[in-house]
Symmetry: C2
Subunit: 513 residues, 2 copies
């Protein structure tokens, strides 16, 4: 039921309300009011009809926003690492945490669980080895015997032994934690002065996490914990971009891609059984865009097979890694055309336009993603500079997955009020809000990103209708089939109504929201 946003009568109204040949006239307050209403109706959620309770919630929210904008330190204008403690104290943020946000459609497998859990739970498990790479990153391995040295890494240390030597293990744990995330209490601008520096640290952190999560028992628990954290953040559905990496056991034996996928199926089933108001997860199989074309052909063939064998959980396929330094989609066109050539279904969910290198080959990814019939666009940061791609995305109802905090931390934009999605939101461009790699950025499931979008993109213009539509968009633009979307929407609606009535009841009675 992916619906493309409506612009009913906009052109007609514009013609009606002003006229370029009318010449000079005194501005009419009613005409002004009509144009302001027209503009308000064009934004995301601008045509959502609010119930009485929702209108009362909106009045509360409007007051909260005005307070928020008064402050000297406006969180969306600041780097998230510096703003987080302010956001965490914001009443709007508390409200967004409680709000049923629908689905998270752009989240990566290895960055869905807070690093506290990885350190405090996973690295305390037995047989956990760690080594220090030449470039100050960490690698991990679980093994029943002392493992062989890795290139460019120190000798392995058994973490149990390392910790036994320390009087106080807090510093060691903090140092490990700092290595698994970009989040820092230091000044992020000096710590990550350029895109190259921040992307290098970002990729190193993934490699560090990988050794922990690829261990079979952890793989299962990590995913379960991820579902828990998103569920606690009131996210009811996930489309997870997953590398489906080779999973290993303590004796060094390994499992193939299918094993990883089956594990996702099983754990999701278990989680849903325990949490009936969680709707589920679907998997977007991802590989790194650094591959050769010939290798990519094999991977796409594997993806088609997985899509055929696991149609329930498989949503489709995508490429990951930094666009600026990776190969453009057009380089892979032969591989990516295979499904169509063979008449096989393999939906695409391409990252595209996560760049500011305008006019380069990489910058064509947006158009190419659309020509390759992508179902959504990951990031689409550059979309506003590509009017043809933008129009295609709008007309075809190909939603942009906007990840504000990720774009800021990876240095595409500093002040989130200048995020191009602010313009997209002002004209109800198909979009969803997601968090990309919340663990890497020290963010929660979706709430921090919703905060940035709601407060930063919209100023006081966006309202409860915007929030409602963003949540509903995450179901409409999901890969779920129409019947599933209907069920998911019904489930979401029940939770939403409950949320609205609780907040309004507490808010109007002067109680804690």
């Amino acid at each position: 039921m992916a619906v493309s946003p409506q612009r009913p009568l906009v052109a007609f109204l514009l013609l009606l309300v002003y006229c370029s040949s009318c010449g000079f006239s005194i501005p009419d307050p009613r005409q002004r009011e009509a144009l302001m209403r027209l503009e308000a109706s064009m934004q995301t959620g601008g045509q959502v009809v609010l119930t009485d309770a929702e209108q009362r919630l909106d009045a509360l929210l409007f007051k909260m926003k005005q307070e928020e904008m008064k402050g000297r330190d406006f969180p969306p204008a600041m780097h998230f690492f510096k703003a987080r403690h302010l956001i965490n104290k914001s009443p709007i943020f508390s409200l967004l945490q409680r709000m049923p946000k629908g689905g998270a459609l752009h989240v990566h497998d290895l960055a869905m669980v807070s690093v506290e859990w990885l350190v405090k739970n996973v690295t305390y498990r037995p047989n956990c080895y760690m080594c220090f790479t030449d470039n100050r990153s960490l690698r991990f391995l679980f093994s029943s015997s002392w493992p062989k040295d890795l290139p460019h890494c120190s000798a392995w240390n058994l973490l149990e032994n390392l910790r036994a030597k320390e009087v106080n293990t807090t510093d060691l744990d903090d140092s490990i934690m700092g290595n698994l995330t970009l989040f820092t209490h230091q000044d992020p601008e000096s710590m990550y002065p350029t895109q190259d520096v921040v992307w290098d640290r970002f990729e190193q952190a993934f490699l560090a996490v990988m050794g922990l999560v690829r261990y079979a028992p952890v793989f299962r628990d990590y995913y379960y914990e991820g579902l828990t954290q998103f569920y606690m953040d009131n996210v009811m559905y996930l489309e997870l971009r997953a590398l489906l990496p080779e999973i290993y056991e303590l004796d060094g034996s390994t499992h193939d891609t299918t094993w990883a996928l089956k594990t996702y199926v099983e754990v999701t089933r278990q989680f849903k059984a325990e949490h009936p108001d969680f709707f589920g997860t679907r998997i977007i199989y991802t590989v790194h865009r650094g591959l050769d074309l010939s290798v990519m052909v094999g991977v796409v063939e594997e993806a088609m097979k997985l899509q055929r064998d696991f149609p329930g959980i498989m949503a489709g396929f995508d490429l990951v890694g930094r666009e600026d330094s990776g190969r453009p989609l057009w380089y892979f066109r032969e591989a990516l055309s295979l499904p169509v050539e063979k008449g096989v279904t393999l939906p695409f969910f391409f990252h595209a336009g996560e760049t500011d290198l305008e006019g380069t080959d990489v910058d064509q990814n947006l158009l190419d993603a659309l020509l390759l019939n992508t179902s959504r666009i990951g990031h689409g940061f550059a979309l506003v500079r590509h009017p043809v791609a933008k129009e295609m995305s709008r007309k075809k109802g190909v939603a942009v997955e906007v990840c504000p905090i990720s774009n800021q931390v990876l240095k595409l934009v500093k002040d989130l009020r200048n995020h191009p999605a602010a313009a997209l939101m002002s004209e109800n461009h198909p979009m969803v809000i997601s968090s990309d790699d919340p663990a890497m950025f020290g963010a929660s499931g979706l709430s921090h990103d919703f905060y940035e979008a709601f407060v930063g993109f919209g100023g006081t213009s966006s309202h409860v209708g915007s929030l409602k539509q963003l949540a509903m968009n995450s179901i409409w633009y999901s890969s779920l089939n129409p019947k599933q979307q209907e069920d998911a929407l019904a489930l979401w609606q029940r939770r939403w109504d409950k949320f609205v009535s609780e907040i309004v009841h507490n808010g109007e009675n002067g109680g804690k929201l």
Copy 2:
């Protein structure tokens, strides 16, 4: 001859080249090529037909751009104060300096001349007094007798005496210079941490300059020097936003608004006589938006009178000062409706949307400027977040005066690739490039801002056609009448053709461009 940009056949071509119901198909390279060409044709200058010589210039420029984008430090991504020495070394910048850029349509009277000239020439004139304000700014006055103390300022010092006491006057001169501009060799981010701080320093610098420039002999020379500096930067026409302040003589006697305007007329005439390829100046009379409504009524009446009495030089009227802390246009609607009510012509050139306070009263200035029939929009930074105002500006051919360096220094945007005008330029929205207050930012006439727009907004997408159209836009969207526009365009075209042939000749012969 203000022409609104064309979008010929775009909708039709889009329909022709892709079709949302076609379903899946293998991307066709010809179709892709057609869409890329379509997108390229939609940008500013995308439909300019290049001569053979221009095409050869374009080939040179494209190579230069690719070199520029390879560098580790990409100037448009940096604060202009840190990037200036890099830009000054850039071959693209040298080329833009030599390029006939047409007119500068958004420049303020008190910030058109480099502060070096003010210090080295003006403050060395006899009878120049200076005092130090409580908030570390300076005030100046020329006087034949020792002047009375100002409130919140130290006792007056005769600059001759101050300098006589110094062994080396360089430090004193540097310190004065630093006070008259925002430009600094220190870290601009720490020096100006917030919009409030930078705007306060900005306004103080204007007050300091004011005392020097309001002195009758300096007023005349300052404007002549300003014309010289813009002329040397290959700008052939100016629309100057002028406060027309009370001008004083050495004995304390003063001249009225008319005197200032007449002086502009005379000096312009003299300058044109000496520089026949300079086209002229027109004045946009400006007052501060901090006024009361009743005072504004009087000012608008005065403006109508000036417009009637000096139709040759008077272009129209505008309000200045920080929008965020000033009164919104709607507050002044009674005063600003006077000309229409009385059937008197007074074109408006309103600053609007120089803000990131989305959804506030100030944020309505864009719509109100358009409803008040503004001829152009000063800045329009917030326009992309206002789809109705944006469409009206496009349909009515109301150009946005984009001042990239000003918006960066005044902290609306950090990385100029994210300037909203990049999106506007990708769809050929009516716009011109200007420099606002070049002396305050340490910028040249127009060339530094043209550099930021050409390299920063466009990446490698923009080309010699974009430059050509931006220059021609500055004539099309000027306040000149059709006959004058025709003459100005003919003059510009001669200079442009000469420029192109010289550059191509030198460039292709491996010589210095």
